[in-house]
Symmetry: C2
Subunit: 193 residues, 2 copies
């Protein structure tokens, strides 16, 4: 691993554990066994490091969701696939996933929040689009596409959150297809399933 990647990895671990604002630049470079000018050479600033980190990880995830929203089959299949993609993204790097969610829920005027926001707007819009495409078929959607989009993303996240709280060290293996199906069904048909 080169020093640029090393710095991103160390930063991610610290942001995950302590939060963006609570981590100092000094701390990051010390963990990497480097010095501050090296960090500033690659990223220009602390927020620049976070932005690069987000960009690098999201560029593999977002296109998958956008393709899905554009193509897509029935609503259940689409949601299932979205669940799969999200779980894969989560399992690829749990620390990154949890760091990112913390940023998403952080204060609006915070630089770190503003750095993740655009990615979530894109993600959210794609999911809204998927629901909108199905709106004709589901007669009773009544313009609740946005509510469903947020609701479904939130449901997936809650499931992953519970998964992570129960088993933070990935001891119980990957999340299976049945589990994803169960979450999708609970979202679509309620808890009596």
């Amino acid at each position: 691993m080169n020093n640029k990647a090393l710095l991103m990895e160390c930063a991610k671990e610290l942001f995950y554990a302590k939060g963006y604002d609570a981590v100092g630049v000094q701390e990051i470079v010390e963990r990497a066994g480097l010095t501050k000018p090296t960090l500033y050479y690659y990223f220009g600033s602390k927020i620049g490091l976070l932005r690069t980190l987000l960009e690098t990880r999201f560029e593999h995830y977002l296109p998958q969701v956008k393709d899905l929203a554009a193509a897509g089959s029935d609503i259940r299949g689409t949601l299932y696939r979205l669940g799969e993609i999200s779980c894969a993204f989560y399992e690829e790097d749990r620390q990154f996933y949890m760091m990112m969610m913390a940023l998403l829920y952080s204060a609006r005027e915070n630089e770190a929040y503003q750095a993740v926001r655009p990615y979530f707007v894109e993600l959210y819009e794609s999911v809204v689009q998927a629901f909108e495409r199905e709106a004709g078929k589901l007669g009773n959607m009544r313009g609740r596409q946005r509510q469903f989009a947020i609701g479904f993303l939130g449901t997936i996240h809650q499931y992953l959150f519970l998964q992570w709280e129960t088993d933070p060290e990935e001891a119980s293996g990957r999340i299976g297809g049945e589990q994803i199906a169960s979450v999708v069904d609970q979202f679509m048909y309620g808890i009596f399933t």
Copy 2:
């Protein structure tokens, strides 16, 4: 408003807008038109200020939830009531509610997270208890009480989150009973309701 309450109010506004770690003690006292020793006189430390703030607001909210979980009627009624209580808590002070949620989703090793955690553990345990009381009646719960508890709390929060994003300045009035019922029904019976 006395200076102690004034400091808590100013701190809340800043924590809400910028996040706990991003706000300095100096900034808080300047907004309040006071000086640092006054803050340290009342709260001892920055984290002490946050703790007092949380304690003050939660002591009106948590007992309501605990009573509900202990008494309770049918599951739908219980969830509806829980929705009502949560919405009231949200509307009492939206900034506080959103600040608190940001803390809840923040990094585990962060002091601020550790300050809110106990309140959420209590809240969560109460809701689990409510589901557990109903477990006998709902044959197919299959030990998913914890999942349902997190799921329902998450659903409520998502609804309030969407509400707040759409209308941050409380322009459209209080959340009505029909809306709460709609969220409860969606959780229980899915999106085709």
